[in-house]
Symmetry: D3
Subunit: 324 residues, 6 copies
């Protein structure tokens, strides 16, 4: 059954009766010394704080470590933010939940995007690189994770399928650049650039938790997606007979240098044209989503400028006319 | 008559008899207290130092402020660099000189590139922007300079037609991006982005000397191409009735922010998606030429790495396989 | 009638009955689900948060988009900050309001300061610069704005007349420096330095909203006061026959470089002595006001040090003895 | 036969007859248009430029790609630097050369140092880490390279055995720190810290060329010793059954973070006490050698200060009294 | 009588009856317009906010400027933080208070640590340095302060005896380094390095308030511990006949350069090996405590990572196995 | 007898017979294996390289450690720079030398400048500060050094009397600022600001060698003029009974913070208005001389811009019109 209300659409006074992901809960006490319970709820469109004022302790125990809850209540404003005043809450079993309503996903179908990526991968002519891509795309466990993974935790495309969406976008940008710079310094190595673009962010499947949970894995923090991805490539290359050493070094360099700057956690900076262009395509795609997202989710859509953006350290201007 | 020798092809022992640009000259004295004359010569492929050991003072006077010279002599090695030992030198009048052999030019024909740019400009639908572009492209003096100007003094595309070549490249990149990001945040404003890309570097016609001479103009250093270009746009806008204020601010912002960072001399940073993408397209094109050029002009083409690049602070790797 | 209470003098328990600027208002709901209204009020001495606990929704509608309000109520402490508990509030028409009690203004009379500036401007001997200054000072609309504008939004002299006060201070500093450095490298160009000092911040009349409202204009953010001011000068110069190109470039450079550093949004850095000194005079005046203001408005006047200053990243010491 | 002269002891007027490494050669022409040959010679104590003024072209061909030469000649001063004027030069076969006189080596015997390191490695108690260390130290090819490798190309311990010397020093520092901080936050994990210290720089065997040649390998530049070393560890861990995932992540993190800062090419910064201390031990040892070396090789040993050091951006003071 | 409860062990619902340091107090008013009192209490294990809801004004007056209070009440949670709801509060006289339960102190006995430091100081052989150390250690007022002083205000060892603990640790590290680097560049000057290590932070006795109060002194902020310590050394040297000028400059340099970088407030950077090693020993000890402390006081001890550390700008990993 | 030739006026072909400071000498050998001697000569207007081609070794010995030489010879051009070819050279005794022709000095008479400074110092009203200034100005040895010392080694006012000239300039700027900001935050503390300005750079008498020699002293490098000057003030204050502690901290802070930024070697940044203004006056004066000097000594006085200035990282524009 289609969900009737989404978090992003709620407004003061709304009455709510929906299933949510229960992201966290914590018990507190009012000044009048009465216990209450704070819940953080999530659906695919956002987060919402909820308060249980009555029988907080009993409900706290009853919820236990539940991942999903059915909540009834009404929306209030507190400290200028919306809050759900809970009338009733009950645990839901994972099998009774419409997961696709709860977890943010890419607008495009992951299977379709993956098909498109596969199609492009097949145009690689270098037999070693083709084998390498095959080694990844025939690995079902990898493919499953690759389709699920977000592109980043918060900044750009932080939803299921986001990694695939970002990868496909970067791949299409470099495909354009190969044509565009066909005359530059003898032309670009299409196969190398394409393979680099397809693989550049695969370390994110190991860096970020996917599915319902959010956040970084332990190797994600201690090692980082750049080296994790490089290593995934190296392990597959080791299984391929006769993979040329030079090609291995070049692809490895693209994996490691794609962030473009040491202070952005690449241990080496791009040292040839294909590596440089991969970095630009990756950075451009991330920034385009960052800016467009900051503008379309501006707190005050009437105002000419958004709030201060801490990452890019600027305001954004919201008034550029869009195509009808 | 086609030139038989170019500076970039010279090697020790060659005998030379050609016309050159005389970039500078200076008189010196040997340890044996004998005057000699040092000339810096140029053709479209590079620079060459030349020495006049006999009758230096007389020849110095005779050359006066000549811009072009006919030189005969032979090539020697001194301090590991090639040097021309002059046997005979004579002044050439500008009208007797094949300028296109002396001044580096874009590989593509400027008129053809300009035609292509014009074609694209005509696809702009916003009537105000169309009028603005028309105001530039109907101004013959501007168009002449625009076709002649290099894209930069040294770094990327430092040759006649370079600015046009770079502009056309950036325009074609943003045309691709408009399609590519049609679904991003409501889509991009194609007309604004296209006009910004076409105009972003026009200040360079006032910043850089064009033609035979090289270097920056006085306003080029004291004001800079960013503000000069902004001002050229503003002056034309002031002539157009009913040009909307918002559009004027937005285009002005794109002109000023296209370098992308304050430390790169933009007085404002990009604050909307179109401005951000223009910056990336511009930067990507400059860097692609920079890297490709550093690699193809490596001092030792056998070595896996070029010499240290002071601008990008790295070595470049020269061994990526090119398409046949 | 003189105002009996100012925001900066309020303390817990005070009873208030005054007219204020209504800077903003927003409706909320208490935990007991009752609507309340938060107002931000302003007079010339500061800002104050006020709460309407009764009939909040009706009052909210009644206030509409009013700019001025008459408020009765009493002062309480909430979270260590003073707050006005509103008993009664009513809309005031602009024409019934003593604006000079509500809007912070310079201590000196703007007309008097302007007269002083004019007097100095008349000592400029270069006829072109004299005409240029005349073009500004005979433009009544400009003069009106110039007298009203603050010198900055928050940091230094953020009040009506502040820009004029700051300009006059910078002008008097450079007048001193011209005498002081009469023997330095052939002496300074008094006319150029004086004109630069008089005009350096005029872009602020277009960057900052003046009068009752506060904040940046759209061109103020997208273009910035540096380029806006440069452009205002360029437009007037274009109207003056025979204005020498070199003088135009030099003055333009002073307008653009006065912030002194690229990271402070100047697109060029000062390249001659007069430009360097203008930058120092401007910076010194801004910093002197910043520090003096941080010290005199210290939260705890007994403490030897102020709170951390985020802009200048330091504490300030409050105990230097002042002249009696 | 013991060598009678070393490069570092040469002075003007000395007559030389010794074998050298021939690092490079290049042909030039004097002003009088006569060919001459420049050689760069090396023994274990330094580098020397040599000039062949007679029959330069014939000798150039005869030397071909020789790695070792016997040279007779005398020492002159040119441009304040010593130079060898060659009287006679002849090719030497590698098998006729006393390599240990030509290649700089650690003062301590590599076998002895390796024995000491092995002894310490055996004190590791964690069975997984013990197996891992064993996997390296039983690999004879690895051990051979590890003993030969310098610690860095130029800065600290740039000689055969230098890597082993540096590793042993860092290991002994962390052994001290384990005792010293036994009471800090529950104590340090000795096995992890020791294994990290032993392995931290092993990537240098793949980053730097060893033996007679100098310089970086291609993977050394494109991938870097940090990731290369991490990968060498990961490959061995993959061969060990039951190696705990957490231990693997922790050791991997130490390998990657040992440079301590992103701008020093570590892709992650140290995130636990053992990783932080390994970084400090490594950095301290490198800097101690850097400073001590700069002081003991000061150009003018009388002067209170050395020349400017470009790496650490300071002068060094040479006059601290040493123990007798 | 031993204290039964410490702040760090409190949890919701606990009943408290203990003596605390009264760090600050402030009066507020509830929305219902009733006065209440907020107290900040401290014992040697941490800080706690307490609220007096009844008779707040009377109690406020009664507490006056008291430094110590006896408080009865119970622990509640407010905004996720523990808070003490005060039932009864009374002033305690300093002489009735067990100060060692209230003020955090080093785990080791200061007298014992001082004895150990003295023992080491006696091994200095240089008679001038020995006299200098004697001048400090025979000065009872200095010794008393030196034993009491914390090592820093917040970051590392911020407790009574912390400075002594840190000094002893740095001294023991440099003692190790003198042995370790006995063969480096002629060996280290043990006496100079030891004296530098013993004295490097003595300026902190003048920079930080000691005893019950916390915070910086006025000279601590205006001059800083680096210069204050340098000056303390210089004053004692001036009293010693025949102290060599070179030794004075060298020790002075170590005092001034021990922070290691200009941006860390050293006015000079280390310029000889002993100065460099002192800086590393000092920095290493501070960072080891910083990291170990951040890990052992992690908000959520189950989580693999701590919260973001603003000083070192990273998360810390908490799961490294400790020795049993 | 007045000198007939100065180094700055020499041109190719000039015949020279003058006395010079002999800054350094070094023996070399020509390609033809003949010894020659290179001398660096100086007069008050600049430096000149000289070559002795005949009897170089004998002359080298004869010159010994001479400080002054009489040289005859003629001027040649070598590598685009002027060079003196020596015909005859002889040692001059210091007592036979007109020192004022050899050592660059301020244009103003040091005694006169000192008198002016003294006059201003006497206007200080605070008795403690007056005593402190007296302690310096009655110290004849100090006064002598103070009059001789340059203001810096190379950058600004690097000549005898330069420190005094700079001090007087800064003092006059702050005198102006005291009047100018009489109304700012209660006014400035004139005595404190004046004393700070008079004393701010006195550490330079200990940092820089004065008289004929150039360069830094050992304490100048190891300690630096900022701390040396602070210490000189502190030593005198210690001799004055009843000097208030607060005043001592404030003046000390001004001494230490006058460079204004940590990276410019101040261990603290300015924390009150007087300290901030002293920093600006000092910096402004140094920069004004730097820029004016760079412009008036431009290599090519015709060119619109100077060569690149490495310190301020920009070109300077030379064409601003000066007052007649």
């Amino acid at each position: 059954m289609a969900r009737s209300t989404y978090i992003k659409d709620l407004k003061e006074g709304d009455v709510v009766s929906e299933v949510f992901v229960l992201e966290s809960k914590s018990l507190g006490r009012t000044r009048a010394d009465k216990p209450y319970l704070t819940l953080v709820l999530r659906d695919k469109t956002g987060r919402l704080e909820a308060k249980v004022w009555e029988e907080a302790e009993a409900i706290n125990e009853q919820l236990g470590a539940a991942q999903f809850v059915q909540v009834n209540g009404s929306i209030e404003t507190y400290n200028k933010r919306l809050q759900l005043k809970v009338a009733h809450v009950a645990v839901k079993r994972p099998e009774d939940v419409a997961l696709d309503e709860l977890v943010a996903t890419s607008e495009r179908d992951p299977d379709e995007m993956f098909e498109e990526l596969l199609e492009i991968a097949r145009t690689v002519e270098n037999p070693h690189l083709l084998k390498l891509l095959g080694a990844f795309f025939k690995d079902e466990a990898f493919v499953e994770q690759f389709k699920q993974s977000p592109a980043s935790k918060r900044i750009h495309q932080p939803y299921v399928g986001g990694l695939l969406e970002h990868t496909l976008s970067v791949v299409n940008i470099v495909r354009f650049l190969v044509e565009h710079y066909a005359g530059l310094g003898g032309g670009l190595n299409r196969d190398l650039l394409l393979a680099g673009a397809i693989l550049h962010d695969i370390g994110k499947v190991a860096e970020l938790e996917s599915g319902v949970a959010h956040g970084y894995t332990t190797p994600g923090v201690l090692i980082g997606h750049i080296v994790l991805g490089y290593q995934m490539v190296e392990e597959r290359i080791a299984q391929i007979d006769g993979f040329p050493q030079a090609l291995r070094d070049e692809l490895g360099h693209m994996m490691l240098s794609h962030q473009g700057r040491l202070e952005w956690k690449s241990p080496v900076v791009p040292m040839f044209t294909e590596a440089m262009l991969l970095h630009y395509a990756d950075d451009l795609d991330a920034k385009a989503h960052h800016v467009a997202n900051a503008i379309s989710s501006a707190a005050d859509p009437e105002a000419a400028f958004t709030d201060w953006d801490r990452i890019l350290e600027r305001y954004f201007y919201t008034q550029v006319e869009k195509p009808e």
